[in-house]
Amino acid sequence: METYEIYSLTSVILFTIGIGGVFMAAHFLRKIIATIIMGAGVFLCFVSLAKRDSLSFADPIPHALVITGIVVAVTAAAFALSLARRIHKLTGEDTFADER
């Protein structure tokens, strides 16, 4: 089993954990963390396939895309966090649970 194969399989599992977390987790913070884990799964898939296609160095284009992706994901998460904190401040709620 090659190195990249192990991480390719890991990436799928991470993505599934993340997507499960987005649905199952109640708290806003956990949902945001779950989306970041989903993103990590996608990035891991990219980079592991870059390793497979390496010649004298690993394929640099997925690497560049992943660096860009990490920064964009963090920016989006920061935006989500500020939204969550605003919701919390205005309503006192920290989940999407129905009001009963």
Partner: protein
């Protein structure tokens, strides 16, 4: 031996992701998230992606973790000023236990397992295309830098990087818009009086600055570059802010605006100038490509660092 390390790392990463989702306390989830990010950084190194590892450890684990930690303050009842709302949610959660939705959970579980199997199969069958490594290597002497990832980021696909700096600026504006109008608190945070903290921060500031500058310049021939340097410089701003020097709010408003937009603006101006002189957008002349890339990277790093500090300063008020 290799396989042993790789499988161990993979299992740890998956385990930490699980713990992160299943931890009972929110604070525990956030700390496990830190560990998850660092484990992922080790994974990138195993995959020969050192640039990605630095970016992951610094931005995704470090900066994001700090933001999460800070949000904990808002969301935990002890620190929150919104006591009334907290009591409402507490009462609400007491009533809930017997209304556990069984059917949705089971169907979601089955769906996730199916999804996992299908994606595993799909990943396994991705054909070996060879990728772009050969082309990137062939054109490397013309790009002005010696490191392929930097060449891709700032030369081959400079348009993407330009847009990314724009995305960061948009993110900053969105955070401002969602955060509502607030006054910057003048005296800084509660920890500001701690003399040990202030001293340590003062000692670390020049070291961080120097290391950031080194990463910026070293991006020319090895792992490093604008984003990694920007995060280190942003860390300086955040540390100073935590130590009670509100550096970002201290400088004049116009200056702040210039600092945040200079990376995007200069990059665009450079692109337009290159177009006006007969090239394509971001097609650097071969002789001065290295120098132009360094200037663009420096300005972009300044902009990103300022934006990160601004996000932090705005969210922690």
């Amino acid at each position: 031996m290799d396989i042993l390390i790789d499988s161990l790392l993979a299992i740890l990463t998956i385990y930490l992701a699980f713990r992160c989702m299943l931890a009972k306390k929110l604070s525990k989830a956030v700390f496990v998230f830190f560990a998850f990010g660092l484990m992922l950084a080790l994974t990138w190194i195993r995959l020969d992606a050192v640039d990605v590892a630095i970016a992951e450890a610094a931005i995704a684990s470090g900066f994001m973790g700090v933001l999460f930690l800070d949000s904990l303050r808002d969301f935990s009842p002890a620190f929150s000023e919104n006591q009334e709302g907290i009591e409402k949610t507490l009462n609400h959660s007491v009533k809930k236990p017997n209304s556990f939705p069984r059917l949705p959970v089971i169907s979601l579980g089955i769906g996730l397992v199916l999804f996992l199997l299908i994606s595993l199969d799909a990943i396994w069958k991705i054909p070996q295309g060879g990728g772009m490594a050969a082309i990137a290597e062939e054109k490397l002497p013309e790009s002005g830098v010696d490191h392929p990832v930097t060449a891709v980021l700032l030369n081959y696909r400079a348009y993407d990087t330009w847009l990314e700096i724009g995305v960061i600026l948009m993110g900053l504006l969105a955070v401002y818009a969602a955060g509502g109008l607030k006054q910057y608190r003048k005296p800084g945070l509660a920890t500001a009086e701690d003399p040990l903290l202030r001293r340590t921060i003062l000692i670390f500031t020049p070291a961080l600055f120097l290391f950031g500058a080194f990463l910026l310049y070293f991006g020319k021939m090895g792992p490093g570059g604008a984003f990694q340097a920007a995060v280190l410089w942003g860390a300086i701003g955040i540390l100073l802010h935590l130590g009670g020097w509100p550096i970002f709010t201290g400088i004049p408003r116009r200056m702040r605006q210039v600092l945040v937009t200079i990376g995007l603006g200069f990059f665009l101006l450079l692109g337009l100038t290159l177009m006006a002189t007969g090239g394509a957008l971001f097609e650097y002349p071969k002789t001065s490509a290295g120098f132009l890339i360094l200037v663009v990277e420096t300005l972009a790093a300044i902009s990103i660092a300022t934006a990160l500090t601004a996000v932090f300063a705005f969210l922690t008020k």
